[in-house]
Point group: C2
Chain length 198, copies 2
Amino acid sequence: MSTTTNGTRARLLAAAQALIEEGGYGGASVIAIAERAGLAVGTLYRHFSSKEELFVEVFRSVCAREEKAMREAAERLEDGSPAALTLETVLATFAQRALGNPRLAWALLAEPVDPRVDAERLAYRGRYAALIGETLRAGIAAGELPEQNVELTAAALVGGCGEALVGPLSPVAGGGPGPAAVTAALRTFIRRAVGAPA
Amino acid sequence: MSTTTNGTRARLLAAAQALIEEGGYGGASVIAIAERAGLAVGTLYRHFSSKEELFVEVFRSVCAREEKAMREAAERLEDGSPAALTLETVLATFAQRALGNPRLAWALLAEPVDPRVDAERLAYRGRYAALIGETLRAGIAAGELPEQNVELTAAALVGGCGEALVGPLSPVAGGGPGPAAVTAALRTFIRRAVGAPA
DNA sequence: TACGATTGTGAATCTCGATTCACAGCGCGT
DNA sequence: ACGCGCTGTGAATCGAGATTCACAATCGTA
C-alpha cells in the first residue's frame, strides 16, 4: 500500500491553512509554509505546481466545510419552517463560525489574494448568495415575504453580514457585545431586511 | 509668485487617480504614473517620499469628495425629515455615485491596497458608518425607528450596500436591472432593514 | 554673467518572494 | 550489488516593482 498521496502533501496543506489562520495570506509565504511543515521549499513544488495551486486547494476545502455546515443547519430545521427562520438559521450559523475563527473568516471573505484564489472566493460567495436567494424566493412564493429584488437582497445580506462580523467596522472588534448578542442583533437585522412580519 | 506647490504635484496626483479609475491600484505603478503625467520616475520621488504617500493623498481627496456629496445630500432635505428618508437619501447618493464610477468605487471600498492606504479606507468607512449611526439614533430617539444595535446595523448597511453595488455579487454586474431600479430596490432594502414603518 | 537652490531625469540598484534545478537519500525489483 | 525512479533539499536564479542618486536644466538674485 504505497501511499502515493503521501502525508507530505497533507502536511503542506495543513501548514498553509494554519499560517493563514494565524496571520492571513501575507504571513503564508512558501518559505514559511515549508518551514512550518518541516520540509524544504523545493518539496512544496514537488507536490504543487505553484503556490497559487496550493492556496486554491486550501481555500476550496475550507469553503466546502463552511458551506456544508450552513446547509446542514438548514436541513436540521423541521420541514415547512418559515423562510425567515431558515434564513436566520443559515446566517446565524455563518456568524457563529465566523466569530469562532475570525482570522479565517476574514481570509475567506475579504482578504486580498491572487486572482486565481479570488475566483474560488467568488464561486463560494456565489453559492452562498444562491442559497439565500433560493430561500427568499420560497418565502415570497409562500406569501411569507414581500416581493423584492431577490438578487440584490441576497447580495446585500451576504455583504452586510460579512461586514458586521469580520469587517473593520464590526462591533465585535472592540470589546463590545459578546458573540451571542451580536448573533441575536444580526437575526433581528436579517428578519427586518427581508421584510418578515414581526 | 513662485508656485512652490507646483502643477507638477497636482499632475502626479491626477495621473495616479486616472490610472486607478481605469485599472485599479494594480495598474498604477510608479512608472505608469510618471509616464502618464509626462514626468520621470525620479520626479515623483522629488514630491512624495513614497508611492504610498502619494496614494494616501489621492485616496483622501477622493474620499473627502464622496463624503461631502453624501452630507450635502442629507442637508438638502428639509429640516425634520424622517430618519428613514435621510438614510435612504444618503445611501442612494452613495449608490448613484458608485454606479457612475464603479471602478473608483471598488478601489475606494474593496480593492486590495497597502496597509497605510487601507488605514485611510477604514477611517473613511468609519465616518460613513458614523453618519448612518447618528441618523439611526436620531430616528430611534424620535420614536420613528425601533430599538436596535446601532453599530451593527450601520456596519451591515455599509457592507450590504457596498456588496450590492460594487461586489462581485452585484446584480449590476450582469446586464441586469439599470441603476435606477437598483437604487430603488436598495431604498426598499434599507427602509426595511432599519425597521421603518411601511 | 556667475552662483546657489530647486526641480527634473532615468538608468542602476535594492528588495522580496516565487520558482528552478543539480544533487542526495531511499526503497524496490533484479 | 546495481540500476532506476521517486522524494526531499536549499542555494541560486528570476521577475517585478519601488527606490536611489549622480548629473542636467532652469530660475531667481547679486
